[in-house]
């Protein structure tokens, strides 16, 4: 036996195809420290998610095509919608095991992240306090009423969701969110989980050359990971990041400052009622993976507010996973719907089937051309996976999105469209 094959890791194998090491994730001052074993826990979880998507999910499809669908067709005829598909899949062991493993992996990811943050809570909260205390760029509202869509269930199994403080000044929730995105996406969102923000910036630079926004509003900004690239790309702009979660905003400002980004204000507000801002006071309004965490009524109201707040000539862009349509099989729709029912994303299913154009028009965008496009995460592909060339499709997790938006018409004084 040749000497160099004596060790199993020296086997001749195809080039490694998988998530990068967790330690590549960007370390800003607010990022919790991870021990060797804590980092390895995230590595395992990233690999688990990848394995489920690349090796287990194809078995679900095979089971659907060879067992589930033929049996259904024989007994009741063709499937009529994605819900029938999902309910039939629920009875099949291939779907049951993929689901049980996916759910368990998500729960393990939460435990791993929470462990890291809770054990150093004192230090983290103190850092955030030092960076944000007395800073006018953090605007929290005493007695703020958290929207119902956040309190019903904890989104994506994150205990306490976006808004819970375990004690005054607590930032362990957002720190856990920041840490764990790597595990869920296999590093697909890049060093600072901001691949979505960079994608939006690239889209704007490509499609609106010369666009120089003075005021930018990001709704459902969370800890601001997607708004920071926008603030960096337009350093002259005043950027307002709005979220309902006080811990997210506190952590967000501290994190932005530790990354040297100074032109973002973090404001606690309900995106349905932005009356604190004047009509036509923003050049650009952005949401990135936010709408699916609201509700139908809320989304209608949010759309109306974006219309009111946009300056003539201003743009609104919403980034989400692709909409369900007649060109998408019921099977794929059912698989994408998994998050709605089993990963605490209750509005996910409705949001992805809703006629967004119709909603935009109802919100007052009847004069405008509704634009649709696709974007993929922009990351340092020397280190992180390139989303558009990755053939592994983990439904609902892929860092490639659908964009819907509009550019508000400039009106003549007579009130006619220019």
């Amino acid at each position: 036996m040749p000497e160099d094959l004596a060790r199993s890791d020296k086997q001749a194998r195809p080039a490694y195809d998988g998530p990068p090491d967790y330690r590549l994730v960007g370390k800003h001052a607010m990022m919790p420290g991870t021990s060797h074993d804590e980092a390895e826990r995230f590595n395992f979880l990233a690999q688990m998610n990848r394995h489920l998507a690349s090796r287990v999910m194809p078995g679900v499809k095979a089971a659907f095509e060879t067992r589930v669908e033929p049996a259904h067709v024989k007994a009741q005829g063709a499937f009529r919608n994605r819900h029938e598909v999902r309910k039939a899949l629920l009875k099949d062991p291939a779907f049951q095991w993929w689901s049980a493993l996916r759910r368990a992996t998500m729960e393990q990811r939460q435990e791993a992240g929470r462990w890291v943050c809770l054990r150093q809570a004192g230090e983290l909260n103190e850092k955030a306090r030092k960076l944000t205390e007395g800073d006018p760029r953090l605007e929290l509202k005493e007695g703020f009423a958290v929207p119902r869509y956040l309190t019903a269930v904890d989104h994506h199994l994150m205990p306490g969701s976006y808004h819970t403080e375990r004690a005054p000044g607590d930032v362990t929730g957002p720190a856990n969110y920041d840490l764990g995105i790597f595990a869920t996406t296999g590093g697909a969102l890049g060093r600072y989980n901001d691949g979505g923000g960079h994608a939006v910036v690239a889209w704007v630079k490509r499609n609106l050359p010369g666009f120089a926004p003075k005021r930018i509003l990001d709704l459902g900004a969370g800890l601001g990971h997607n708004v920071l690239p926008i603030a960096q790309a337009f350093p002259e702009a005043e950027v307002v990041a709005v979220d309902a979660g006080a811990p997210m905003l506190r952590y967000g400002l501290a994190r932005a400052k530790s990354l040297g980004i100074e032109n973002v204000r973090f404001v606690q507000a309900d995106a349905e009622d932005l009356s604190r801002f004047e009509d036509e006071s923003f050049d650009w309004i952005q949401t990135t993976m936010f709408l699916h965490e609201t509700s139908k009524k809320a989304m209608e109201q949010i759309f109306a507010e974006t219309r009111r707040l946009l300056k003539p000539g201003g743009i609104v862009l919403h980034v989400e996973q692709p909409q369900y349509s007649d060109t998408m099989t019921y099977y794929e729709q059912a698989m994408r719907d998994w998050d709605a029912f089993y990963n605490n994303e209750p509005f996910w299913t409705t949001m992805h089937e809703i006629d967004l154009d119709d909603l935009m028009i109802k919100a007052g965008f009847g004069q405008e051309k509704i634009l649709h496009d696709g974007v993929a995460a922009v990351v340092d592909t020397g280190l992180f996976p390139a989303p558009d060339t990755d053939e592994v499709e983990d439904y609902g997790r892929k860092a490639a999105w659908h964009v819907i938006g509009a550019q508000k018409k400039t009106m003549k004084k007579t009130g006619e469209a220019a």
């Binding site: 490694y16 998988g18 998530p19 090491d21 390895e40 690999q47 078995g59 060879t66 049951q96 729960e107």
Partner: protein, 119 residues
């Protein structure tokens, strides 16, 4: 401070009724325990890999060396590939069932035995 006791709160349940997928809830309980164990075995193996690499490079070892270890791209690829092998081994039964599905109806050894009695 009790609110931040990791032993008490790291494994907290998210608000919202938990769905169970397997035919038998006990089986799913057991599966989640096994997968948590698999995670810890993976962590332990990587720690050993780190120890080996540090010793190979330096000839000495401190715990600070382990905590400060960061694999380069080639090392990360080797460790990543090991994890892929590990998970593939653990979840082998699911792969087998996919294979079975692709083959369609197969004869069992017992059936073949009966057949060979006669022919």
């Amino acid at each position: 401070m009790d609110a931040f006791d990791p032993l008490k709160h790291a494994g907290a349940k998210a608000r919202g009724k938990r769905p169970w997928f397997l035919e038998n809830q006990d089986t799913e309980r057991l599966m989640t325990i096994v997968m948590a164990l698999a995670q810890e075995v993976s962590v332990m193996r990587q720690r050993l890999d780190t120890v080996e690499r540090v010793l190979e490079k330096k000839g000495t070892l401190t715990r600070a060396d382990i905590e400060g270890f960061a694999p380069d791209k080639a090392e990360a690829a080797e460790r990543g590939a090991w994890t892929q092998e590990f998970i593939a081994r653990i979840l082998r039964i699911l792969q087998q069932e996919q294979d079975a599905l692709q083959r369609g109806d197969e004869v069992s050894s017992e059936q073949a035995a009966k057949d060979f009695q006669e022919n």
